[in-house]
């Protein structure tokens, strides 16, 4: 960051930008949690077989 305020694109207020940023963070967190959930479910569903794969 260069310390300057981000310039809002035409039609967007700084408040719009702030809301958009918080939504983006929330979406990233949700996707991360979803990935972690799928990972955990895969481990639980496969059990010890998760390590048993042909090389």
């Amino acid at each position: 960051m260069n310390g300057r305020e981000p310039i809002a694109p035409p039609g967007l207020t700084p408040d719009d930008l702030r809301r958009r940023r918080s939504r983006s963070i929330a979406i990233a967190v949700a996707l991360g949690l979803l990935a972690a959930l799928f990972y955990a479910l895969t481990v639980v569903k496969l059990g010890p077989q998760i390590l048993n794969r042909p090389m």
Partner: protein
Amino acid sequence: MTTALTDPLESSRAGTIPARPAVPGGELTDYLALLKPRVMSLVVFTALVGMVVAHANVHPVIAIASLTMIAVGAGASGCLNMWWDADIDARMVRTARRPIPAGRIAPGEALSFGVTLSVGSVLVLGLAANWLAAALLAFTILFYVVVYTMGLKRATPQNIVIGGAAGALPPMIGQAAVSGSVGPETGILFLIIFLWTPPHFWALALLKADDYARAGVPMMPNVAGPDATRRQILLYTALVAPCGLAPAFLGVGGLLYAITATVGGLCLAALAVQVYARRSGERSVRAAQHLFAFSILYLVLLFSALLAEHGLGLWHALPRWPA
């Protein structure tokens, strides 16, 4: 900059909802509000009890994932309900500050948010647990959104009676998620929530009759009148109070549950009698307020007793009822 209103409902409901923000999207709290978190918490709680009374041997990760998806599915149906009802929400004092009527979230956004969460929750529940649970969740969402919200709510004063089935299904979804089947344990819980819904909502409808009248929603007090509603409240309370005891006789609940259901049922009945007897003035308002508030506590107490007995092992420590 114009407001992009792509929602098909907009043309027919123009003028009832304030202008949308130029940039789509509100605060995070607005999106959370779309999920009706208070309803969602009750759904999660009853689904958890459905899981616990099933006594199934399921991995905690699968149980937690299932419960999360049931919560997301419940939130999605609440979101779609707010999308469809935005026009009447705007006319009611109780709901006018919701994100869509207040103009903080565009209807199209709420629609896509709700549909995405609905489809996602059903698919993940199917993959994580089983497809019976996923089918039940899908049915619950469709029933609440299509049958209740789009069909019954504006058409008949029996709206919340029939629509109550959607709110009564979570224990069965919970049991299905952990055991792969549904049984009488959660069947009776379904019946309790189903019969509990009318006195709960009609107590609120008595208090908010003007609001519902302004929105044109045919709630029982607006169609049949307050006195007929009070009779119906009494009738359904007379059904739900003994029905609340049934789990104790079916071996689902133990002594703790039996005591809770007896005392709770008697209190609920007493409050329903008060609502029936006090028909005017401030006392009638207070009676309806008390019934509405206690009805929530009643359901929470019944399910908490089951949770304590089955989840904490108290059921084994207490004598069966009847012996």
